[in-house]
Symmetry: C3
Subunit: 486 residues, 3 copies
């Protein structure tokens, strides 16, 4: 209780002390931006005002202990004024030569889109890590992989009464479905005139816009959209760390990460206790800042013990802490070495990390040793709240489930293969007939549901909710389809 | 930081000042109510105590700046005491002549149900707007529309082993399904005796009760249930403004508004930041009271800029800001002119806003000009946080998706028509055979899911979660059913 | 407002007063535990530190008014030091003779698993009530019931291309699906060596571990896992009382309790207002501590009026306030008398509480009188916020829905029986063919969804979301399957 008295005292001192300090300054250009945008887009200005960017200069950020920093640049970059806060102009004016979306706007040359390449001015490690991730390549990982491209196009086929299936997908449909999460390719396709309170102004016209997908291809050629997780002009780490952010895309039926988390004990504790936790602290101390992990804890945040010992280093390569890739393609495999998964070829020449007979495309996948290291690191994190045996047996069991689920996928694949062989379905497009839909659902929905449930303790997803039960019923339907036709 | 010191000072002053003020008084009758009900229904009394009604007199409310008022009556209505707070008796005793549920209760004549017609004593604009909305007519919009009535009755058919489908639905089943949200017709069907702590008392007996559906037909003949969104005796605007309220009814698989919102960036920010937002402020200032919209922001609340400039006027006609009606019947159309959609007839004489060949029942739908105005107003709201191009391109893309989704519904309709023509299904009841269920799901579940996802950025709902993928699989199943039968 | 001034004053006094008090002490053994575990499992230690256990001695707990106590033991048990807080050693060292998982660990003999039998040292009433509940017997209620055991094994059948269905389920698959919630049988199967910061240590090796299912069979022979609802070392009543806890297992499609609650008015108010409620108060006063019930309010917590009058006594036999068991087996029945439902036999000799023709196994079910008493008690709770008529009519309607839903199940059962009779399906395993899956889904998913929706006001679950509509479509599919085959 002495603590509380001290707290009151120190608060008073802080108030008085702060008062003496000079408020951090915004740049002349940013002041110009705000002058108009306070009226034309007040929501953006207000959002920014509550951001750390609006309240901190780079020099202040660099003055902190390294472990407390939210910037990874080590010293003031050339040409950057370290004594102004990070305002509109500071971000929207970077690297103009690379930006095809750079345009003259009320006396300043600004870019429409701030890209990871711009953010890396102050956050180079994050940008570097991200650039190697599957997320950064999420567009090409779909469209440059002929199998996935065909699956996308079949899933989004337009069908008109007077025609058959068309596998040409409308760009707008792509933009609101797969590529809404994966990212679109945003290009400058001209200029357009829009009305503003100061009269008509000319702005770049962008294709496949708006979009904030994780692998968005930006007008400066860079890949990614930091705002996907750090929305929009407040860039809150607090938002990024809460599972709702991951829950924009990691959703059932195909990737039920968020759904499983919510039903887990971890998710239960998060939902109940989150208001007492500190989602803003850097470093993020387990046990004191939070009592149960959110997605970010295990998959990317810098996590320390209450005493400040580092348990996990921060990473923005979100797959890099995982060893097994449970997402079925069509079986589970070790994580890929590179984020460019479209470069993978299996022994049958298919752009998949594993052949239908189960042979992995090992040269594209991380080694046994690397898998072991990652698993041990993850168990090390678990061991802060669970016993050694607990953590070890948890993942051993999980691996058994992954293995058995893959066998169910093999069974389902054998049935569709039988249908192809018997001429009951046409393998030319392996995704567009009824039995093929059943087959796709068996690995894309049901097998994933089972494995995600086993990975993060969401038993309902492993059982009835798109789980093993549906996998069994589905195989039964496929057997019936193949058998009835005989 | 000076702000904080000022805040402390002003808080102290406020405390002292408040102390001097007289507490607002409750009426003699309300005091009588509370006397017993504090014991017999303490939950109701406590709920009321924390309400604004319990703490504010109408004169105090009228003393505020108009933009800050929560009442829309302009001056003290005749016969109303403006110096007492709004208690039990003040609401439950209004318009007794209209109330068939009025009864003598411990010396006072009170109504069981407080209706929109009663609430309009102080909230006339809200009641007036609401009375013209689709919500107010939600009961008749189902039961007076023969097509929807048949769909309801088929969806709720009781089936016993010894009989065939019956299309007579049990009232109780209606009450807990469609009409739980749409509202029931509540009538006084007699009186009954119930036990109370003060002995047996006689009360009106109500049919189809309890219910709090949005279009409830009340014993006074009025339509609606304000408590549907402003529950129960605290009438919190805070509750009404949070998406959970809309989420009681606007749910997948048929109307996935709440579900899509939760998965959107807006929903992500809401879930993470809502504790920092002010859901009680009137007017509701974007950027300062909240950083991302909830359902109410876009669809009904009075929204201003941080400076207090009105961006959107308050409305309780919840469809009146929308221009297109994305809910498939069986295609999308412009919004109807009147909330009484059962009055609509299309060119084929069906009570639907569009014919199966796509011809809209234009005379019942808002004009091109009105659509344009509403869209511009909505984009104007978006533009507070998004650029002009962003907002404009967002809705252009959305319209393309609506159009293409309707084509998929046309394809599905052509297939069921083929089944009818070939005698594979009986069109007499177009909703009760397997292929007809597939057809209904194609527009009622899948097409809606795609369009709601496109409207509010929930890509999963446009893709795998009842989305385009299911629409394609569904058509494939229908094709197979029609073809196999040949 | 005087209140606020008083509050400030009393806070100051409290601060000063607290300062004088001696901090409660931890035992010597617990201090030893913490000495190492602060480093090896800091998450556990921090979690415990914020618990009531860490801050309260048993003597302090016993010093409270009985209604405010969180312990049910009446006096200090023999051998217990009432002046130390409840730390690691106090729980992990109890009843060593019963614990096959007891082992020498750094000088102390400790148990790996703290069981309900250990918790009952201070919480005997809770343990006693729980031991008679269906939850406590959740393992045997599946595996000792041949019908359920076959359903589990069929639902989790492994299927390999070269074999037919196998009904032998992998233990690991059991552990992550049905038994994750129901509980596993945890046995000591040997010892193993694990690494620690102090070198290698030997610990018991447990089978089917980790698990925190409600009916877990512990190494001391006891049944249950208190941590299932009171996680993990903070044992928060606050967590247990929030619906997210129940939402780990009570989930759609089979038991959609949590899902329905979220969509109800109660759930809406909870989601919006929960930050203002006190989930920690004992006793829990309706109206003041909360304005709408969560699961715990109706199903197990001690609830009082604002004045402290007891409305419902606390119970840890979670079924004991309910009169009807809406979970379909295959129809609804009165609640069973005993939590050991595997002991039930119906008139056809099946281990089910009702025969397929609808005859209940009455001797195993609670009497009419007991049903009536429980219903009245529940309505008594409702009546704190709802009128007498409201509460009574609500449940009358609910019962009608239960009855009608059971008729739909009878219809579905007649169809599968017809398939068996005609040789279209093999009754030997009544769960593993397509039409049998449809039949199981009709009662396990759709009928439950309808009834849970009617019980707790989630109309979407009674209608489109696995509701009546799906029940009708499902029967239509079954009819088609039986008819087509003719």
């Amino acid at each position: 209780m002495r603590l509380l008295l001290l707290l009151c005292l120190s608060l008073t001192i802080t108030i008085l002390a702060q008062d003496e300090k000079a408020e951090p300054k915004t740049s002349r250009q940013t002041n110009t931006c705000i002058g108009c945008h306070e009226m034309s887009t007040p929501g953006i200005v207000e959002d920014w005002k509550r951001s750390r960017h609006a309240q901190t200069t780079l020099n202040q950020a660099l003055g902190k202990e390294e472990i407390e920093r939210r910037v990874s640049v080590k010293e003031l970059p050339e040409g950057i004024d370290g004594d102004i806060v990070v305002g509109c102009y500071e971000c929207h004016s970077l690297n103009p030569e690379a930006h095809t979306d750079n345009f003259e706007h009320m006396g300043n040359a600004v870019n429409v889109i701030v890209s990871p390449n711009d953010c890396q001015t102050c956050h180079p490690e994050e940008a570097e890590q991200y650039s190697g991730s599957k997320k950064a390549h999420a567009v090409d990982n779909l469209r440059k992989n002929p199998v996935f491209d065909l699956l996308v196009n079949t899933s989004l086929a337009t069908f008109h009464p007077d025609k058959n299936f068309e596998t040409t997908v409308l760009p707008e449909l792509n933009d609101v479905t797969c590529y809404a999460c994966h990212g679109t390719e945003v290009k400058v396709i001209g200029t357009k005139t829009v009305s503003s309170s100061l009269g008509e102004i000319e702005v770049p016209e962008l294709s496949n816009w708006p979009n904030m997908g994780v692998g968005r291809i930006n007008p400066d050629g860079s890949q990614g959209s930091c705002t996907a997780c750090h929305p929009r002009h407040s860039f809150d780490i607090k938002v990024a760390r809460q599972p709702y952010t991951c829950g924009q895309c990691h959703l059932q039926p195909d990737v039920p990460g968020f759904d499983v988390y919510k039903e887990s004990k971890h998710g239960n504790m998060f939902s109940t206790l989150k208001e007492e936790w500190d989602f803003d602290a850097v470093p993020w101390r387990l046990g004191t800042d939070f009592n149960a992990p959110s997605c970010a804890t295990c998959h990317n945040s810098l996590v320390t013990t209450p005493d400040g010992d580092v348990v996990m280093e921060r990473t923005h390569d979100f797959g890099s802490r995982m060893w097994v890739r449970i997402f079925s393609l069509i079986y589970s495999t070790p994580q890929p070495v590179s984020g460019k998964t479209y470069e993978i070829t299996n022994k049958d020449g298919m752009p998949l990390p594993v052949a239908f007979d189960g042979t992995p495309a090992s040269e594209f996948l991380i080694s046994e040793e690397e898998q072991q290291q990652r698993r041990e690191a993850m168990e090390g994190l678990c061991r802060n709240c669970h016993s050694t045996s607990w953590a070890e047996q948890y993942f051993t069991r999980f691996h058994k489930i992954v293995e058995e689920t893959d066998k169910m996928t093999a069974a389902s694949t054998a049935l569709v293969a039988e249908a192809w062989e018997k001429g009951l379905a046409d393998q030319e497009n392996p995704f567009n007939e009824d039995i093929e839909f059943l087959w796709v659902k068996s690995w894309l929905f049901y097998a994933n549901s089972v494995k995600y449930g086993a990975a993060m303790s969401g038993p309902d997803y492993s059982t009835f909710k798109n789980g093993w039960y549906e996998m069994v019923h589905n195989i039964e339907k496929m057997k019936k389809a193949v058998k009835t036709a005989e």
